[in-house]
Structures are given as C-alpha cells and as structure tokens.
Assembly symmetry: C2
Homo-oligomer: 183 residues x 2
C-alpha cells in the first residue's frame, strides 16, 4: 500500500446530483494509486447500519451520524473514507466535521455536488423527481423535504454544467494541495 493520510471525503447534494458517480470515480482513482479506500454508499449503509430507520429528520440525522462514526473510525486507521449519502442537514454535517477535527486523527473534506433542481428534474435518471412532484414520495429531498447546501464547502462540483472528469480533477487538486494525497 502506498502511503497517504486517512481522511473523510464527504459528498453532499440532492438525489441525482452526481454524488455516487463522483465518489465511484474517485474510489477507482485511489485504488489505482494503491490507496486504502472505502466507499460508504448511502443505500449500502442503510442496509447494514440503519435498517428500520425512516426518512424523518430525526432518523436521517441518525443515519448520517452513523456513517460519520464509521468514516471517522476508518480514517483514524489511515483509510480514505468516502461518503456519498444525501446528508441534507447542514448541522449534522458540521457536527461530523467538528468531531473529526476535534479527534485530530483525520481531515474532513466536504464536496458539494451542486445542480439546480430544474436540471435534476429535467434529467431525472431514476424517475424519482417525477414521482416526488406528483406527491407520490414523502420526504423527498429538494421537493417535499429540505436540502441545506453547505455554506463553506471545501470543493464545489457543478455537475449539471461540467464533466465528471473536470469535477474529479478539481477534487484531486484540492487533496494534493492539502497534502492528503500525493500527485
């Protein structure tokens, strides 16, 4: 294994904004470099850690806090932990950043996968926005449930106007600049 520091690469953004696509592309890139990396996908984590939780604010917060705990535990041991869950509430994301920095064992890098709701509705890869706008999905982030964008994200990926490659390059550049990975 090549040497690198453990850190948390935390994606946030609405459904369909490209979090998983970016997270997977970075996971591949890190693996290519021989880094230890774990992608904590929102759906996978729900299955293993949060079965039974609803999409109410309280349960979403609990789910996101659990991802945060697992990510911190991995990063502490030198693993790059990537989270790709929606994580709609600012306060909980900031809480996880604060806990990570307080423990002092890893960096927390927040990446905002940004796309205007119009673009997401127009693309609607999984057909979820259509259903949500028709009132068929309760607690759908950005439609029937709030999404609070980060006020000071470390990196912004404008996923409706730039290519995956461009976003990935910007994220890698940031990580190199912060000396979390080598070129």
């Amino acid at each position: 294994m090549t040497e690198h520091r453990g850190f948390i690469l935390w994606f946030t953004g609405m459904s369909g904004a490209g979090k998983s696509t970016l997270a997977s592309a970075l996971e591949d890139e890190f693996k290519r470099k021989g880094y230890r990396v774990e992608l904590l996908d929102g759906d996978e984590v729900r299955t293993h850690l949060s079965k039974g939780l609803s999409f109410s604010k309280e349960d979403r917060d609990t789910n996101v806090r659990r991802i945060g705990w697992v990510a911190r535990t991995l990063a502490k041991h030198g693993v790059i932990a990537i989270s790709a869950a929606i994580s709609p509430y600012r306060e909980v994301r900031d809480e996880i950043r604060a806990l990570t920095e307080k423990e002092g064992s890893a960096a927390f890098v927040e990446v905002y996968a940004e796309a205007p709701i119009e673009a997401l509705v127009a693309r609607d890869v999984k057909g979820l926005y259509k259903k949500a706008l028709a009132g068929e999905i309760a607690h759908f982030t950005g439609v029937s449930d709030p999404y609070e964008p980060p006020l000071h994200p470390d990196v912004v990926a404008h996923t409706s106007t730039e290519s995956v490659e461009t976003s990935v390059k910007r994220i890698l550049h940031y990580l190199i600049e912060k000396r979390l990975i080598t070129e």
Copy 2:
C-alpha cells in the same frame, strides 16, 4: 506501523466473564507492537450504531450484525478489529464468521470467555446478576435470556480459574501460530 494482517478477534461470553478485560489487554499489547487496532466495545457500539434497539433476540442480532459489518470493513483494510459484545446467539456469530471467510479479506478468530454462572454470580462485579436473579432485569443473558456457547471456538479463556495473563498468552500464541501477527 508494523505490518500485520487485518483480522477479527471476536470475544463472546456472559456478562462479567472477562471479555472487556481481555480485549483491553490485547488492545494494549497490539498498540505496543505498533499495530492498527480498533476495540468495538458493546456499549460504545450501542451508542453509535444501535441506539433505540432493545435486548430482544431480533434487536440483539441486529446489533451484533452491525458490529460484524464494521469489524469486517476495518479488517479488510488491515486493521485488527476486536469485538467484546456478549453476542449470545451462535447462529449470528457463525454468520459473521462465514461472511468474513467468504469475503476472503480477513480471518475470524472466536475467543470464548468461559466462566460457570456460579462463579459469575459469586463475583458479580456490577451487581447485575443479583438484580437479574431478583427478576429486576428482563432479557439478562444467562439468567432470563439464553447464552449459546460456541461449539468450536478458536480459543477458550477459562476466566474464573486462570489469570488474565495466561488467557492473553494463549490468545497471542494462537494468533502467532496462525501467522496473523508476528512474535
């Protein structure tokens, strides 16, 4: 960090049988050797991953499966993951062993902290057995809830008749023999 393989060191045994004591002693020993180690304590995991779960069989199984998932994720990345939860049901422990071995990324070592119930009741460090025998604690393992000892544990620690040092030595000897750690 010294090189070692990632593996799961899974303690099982009744309340007061010495799981946490042995787990802590081994954690210290691994840290002294410069190994990456994470102790997943039953109570800590309940706080972070399983708040709200009861002590019914179903909820206990869910809690233990979550510890198993976190332990596998850590061990996959070369960390020694130690679990010190009671984990009373054989089927779930065997399921975690099977999943670990199927994934092929880490070894699963089951240590049975064995002590006769009479010895645990006589010692009763936390006064829990007294309460449980008085019927004041529902679902108390070994009294009002079952404990299923492992049929083929990798190591047995006879904690009522041997010293912590003796048990720790036996566990270390097993790990060296299996080439999971170096002498």
